[in-house]
């Protein structure tokens, strides 16, 4: 039964080894997907390269279908899969800040590490910024703590929140993703024709 760690198939130390291997694989996939390049990533926000949207939605759909069907077959205990608590207001503000950083810097935290590992200077600068931000946040935490813990909603999932079945959510997300893929392809072609800019 999955998840393996929660069923104590291996201890914490071996868990770190597994995390390391998966992390290397994740970074490799990101790099091969072109996510070590800030130009490709930032292009998403100007809509002339929709690669980020396509990769993200593909990842979401793959993981979602995997979790859903594994649970249905009985390989995976969904109730053991970690779902973070929702603090709606601070998470919206945090998400907006992360998005702004993404547009300005051209990376999200994960892809900046990928970029730095391939030797890009902007990746290193971005990483420094991350650690500086972590330091400032840590130092300011007493001031921010009230907001940080405000509007707690506990563990919320879409089926619970919307009052619909898991299968319905899966269907809607798949439909949304396929729609987004089609729209992205269409949009890219249109913009490429108009501005003569390549799709990469």
């Amino acid at each position: 039964m999955m998840p393996y760690f929660k069923f104590d198939y291996f201890g914490f130390d071996f868990g770190l080894v597994v995390a390391f291997i998966i992390g290397i694989g994740f970074g490799f996939a990101l790099e091969r997907g072109g996510f070590g390049n800030a130009r490709i990533l930032a292009a998403q926000f100007y809509f002339y390269n929709m690669r980020v949207l396509k990769v993200m939605f593909t990842a979401i759909v793959t993981a979602m279908l995997g979790l859903f069907y594994f649970a249905w077959i009985g390989w995976l205990d969904l109730s053991l899969v970690y779902v973070g608590d929702t603090y709606i207001l601070p998470q919206i503000v945090g998400g907006l800040m992360l998005g702004m950083g993404f547009v300005i810097g051209g990376y999200c935290p994960g892809t900046s590490v990928v970029s730095a590992s391939t030797g890009r200077t902007d990746g290193f600068v971005y990483l420094l910024g991350i650690f500086f931000g972590i330091f400032v946040f840590g130092e300011m935490f007493p001031l921010l703590e009230g907001f940080y813990n405000s509007t707690p909603m506990g563990r919320v999932t879409l089926p619970e929140f919307l009052g619909i079945s898991h299968g319905m959510v899966v269907f809607l997300v798949v439909a949304m993703a396929l729609g987004a893929f089609a729209a992205a392809e269409w949009g890219e072609k249109k913009i490429a024709k108009k501005s003569g800019r390549g799709v990469e």
Partner: protein, 222 residues
């Protein structure tokens, strides 16, 4: 039909697979029934017979004095009772909230109520939901009171028993208890010995009981 399918690009084929799986999911609705539980009856029965799932109050007292922190002590009684008195380091979780309370499946959990019954029921709920290290405080809070907070020394105690009682007195004092000593009047007059000593006051809580919920929650996620 087949030719048409072969002509499609790999990403279009994958998209069709995803669409198909999405539509099937619509009919499956819910992959697991959250209220259904699976029980390995033999394994559960065996651990009960072997008394592997019980912790004696003395053992717990010893752990608390040594400040062992590899377990979570869960108080299953209601809030009012909890705020009046609870065993140090315990957290108050209601029976119906047990599964959503953030207890970890690889954690050592010790349950207690006033007696064994609530703890045994909670033990079953947790064990059947794949919690591994679930234990019952044998005798519950009543036993904790009898043995730790208000231990009694029999009137005709042997020297060995008296010596052992001295140790218990120290443990009791650590938890703010009041050991029940056989007083002189009780021994001299037979009438007095039948009068039960007044129930001593419960020790005052040093830490505010309210808001003492799951203090250290293991952080997970990215």
């Amino acid at each position: 039909m087949k030719e048409w399918f072969m002509k499609l690009s790999i990403s279009k084929k994958l998209a069709m697979v995803a669409a198909l799986l999405g539509i099937i999911a619509l009919f499956i609705a819910n992959p697991t029934d959250d209220n259904k539980i699976y029980v390995n009856a033999k394994e559960m029965a065996l651990s009960t017979v072997k008394d592997q799932d019980k912790i004696e109050v003395m053992t717990l007292a010893d752990w608390l004095i040594k400040e062992k922190s590899d377990f979570t002590l869960v108080d299953l009684r209601n809030e009012k009772e909890y705020s009046e008195y609870n065993i140090p380091t315990s957290v108050n979780i209601k029976m119906e909230d047990l599964l959503g309370s953030g207890l970890m499946r690889n954690q050592k959990i010790i349950l207690y109520g006033n007696d064994d019954i609530a703890a045994a029921q909670a033990w079953f709920v947790l064990r059947s939901s794949n919690y591994k290290g679930v234990y019952i405080l044998s005798g519950g809070l009543n036993e904790w009171k009898n043995q730790i907070l208000f231990p009694k020394l029999a009137l005709n105690a042997t020297p060995e028993q008296t010596a052992a009682f001295e140790k218990v007195k120290q443990i009791s004092a650590y938890f703010g208890g009041t050991p029940q000593l056989a007083t002189a009047e009780q021994t001299t007059t037979s009438a007095a010995s039948t009068i039960k000593p007044a129930i001593p006051a419960m020790p005052k809580l040093s830490t505010p009981a309210v808001g003492g919920k799951a203090t250290k929650k293991k952080k997970e996620g990215c």
